[in-house]
Amino acid sequence: MNEKRKIRLATCSLAGCFGCHMSLLDIDEKLFDLLGMVEFDRTPFTDIKRCGPCDIGIVEGGVSNAENVHVLKEFRKNCKVLVAIGACAITGGVPALRNNIDLWDCFQEVYLYEGGLEGNQIPNDPELPLPFDKVYPVYEVVKVDYFLPGCPPSADMIWKFLTDLIEGREPKLDYEMLRYD
């Protein structure tokens, strides 16, 4: 058989809302075309827990805790091309609204003033990743090869970008596709 090797693609969501992943799923029936061209490595779709060697890695969300850094570095190490997708990965986005509020004040507001199911307490399980004082865009932590802005970028924009990249063209976005919101 002379079948072309499929492009290996990994995706993850750091401090994001999974909106960019939802937008990727929004390409609807083109998902079949995509699956003809790529095979997924670590993604929330496959539930593979560790990223292996990949051609393309897509990162949603900013960096808000220690685990985000580990995942991001794993992606950078394993992916030939790293793509930051969405406002949060590119600028910190809505989670970065907390950047000028003291972390302790945030915790008190969320967990102490109005109690949750377990009463008024700040979660402190050793399993929980260490939160950072600020949320950072991914390009301030690792080198990023491509940016796909939008909150989220539209399914059309993601499709255009991915097909350009997979078919070896320099990705180019039309005016109406380039959005920060």
């Binding site: 930051a84 406002a87 590119i90 600028t91 910190g92 986005g93 809505v94 970065a96 609204l97 950047n99 000028n100 600020k134 950072y136 865009p137 390009y139 301030e140 990023v144 491509y146 940016f147 796909l148 802005p149 909150c151 005016y175 109406e176 380039l178 959005r179 920060y180 919101d181």
Partner: protein, 240 residues
């Protein structure tokens, strides 16, 4: 033929652009429908020359077109890859110096800073974010002032002083500490005679001055820059 003998011209990117004495390069370009990117300039006010987006190359030297008087036979380069890449860097610096979270901003889609960034094909802010704490002033019953988004263009300062005759705004501090201030003993907008009908309430190119209870009234798809880029919008008559 047809050009009267008296008319003087410059060229911008090879195009003949007429001007009259006293006009800046920017004035002549706007009148001729040639877009030169600009943020701190608004033709209704005296030039300010602070954002540097309008820098063009005049006979090989870089100059701010909004302050430089046009002179006979100037050869101006404007829409070049070099100048546009410098402009993109300037816009990226504005993004990291302030706190611009477009998805959470009421001005998104109508904002000139964002539109200039789209025009210049800015895909990321590139530089390290400052995340400087900046004040939000909601003390006025009708108007928000959010300094996270202020680019210090001084259009509100000029409009309040020159058009409204009120002098509500001023600039204080130096360098990276420069801030827009409100001329009241308390420093709060609610303690001034600022009104939502003032010119100064409607000149901000970004989302730093916003009329309350108007946010998100215009649906996505119908906002100023959703379909037309800033070079088209700013060439329309009466767009400001």
């Amino acid at each position: 033929m047809g050009a009267p003998a008296m008319s003087k011209t410059i060229t911008i990117d090879g195009k003949n652009v007429p001007f009259s004495d006293g006009q800046t390069i920017m004035d002549a370009a706007l009148a001729a429908g040639v877009y030169i990117p600009h943020l701190c300039h608004n033709p209704q006010f005296e030039p300010h020359g602070s954002c540097k987006l309008c820098v063009v190359s005049v006979n090989g030297r870089n100059m701010t077109s909004c302050t430089m008087p046009a002179a006979e036979d100037m050869v101006v380069a404007n829409n070049t890859p070099e100048l546009n890449s410098d402009r993109k860097a300037l816009v990226q610096m504005l993004f990291v110096e302030g706190n611009h979270i477009c998805p959470a901003c009421e001005a998104s889609g109508n904002c000139q800073l964002q539109a200039a960034a789209y025009y210049l094909d800015m895909l990321s802010p590139h530089y390290t974010h400052f995340y400087q704490p900046r004040a939000v002033d909601a003390s006025h019953p009708e108007i928000f002032l959010d300094l996270n988004r202020c680019i210090l263009c001084e259009l509100c300062v000029r409009a309040s002083r020159e058009v409204d005759g009120k002098n509500v705004f001023g600039i204080s501090g130096r360098g990276i500490g420069t801030r827009l201030v409100v001329n009241a003993a308390s420093g709060r907008l609610g303690d001034t005679n600022f009104a939502a009908t003032d010119k100064a309430a409607h000149v901000c190119p970004t989302g730093a001055i916003l009329i309350k209870r108007q946010g998100y009234r215009i649906p996505i798809g119908q906002r100023t820059f959703d379909h037309k880029n800033i070079s088209e919008v700013q060439m329309e008559p009466d767009h400001e």
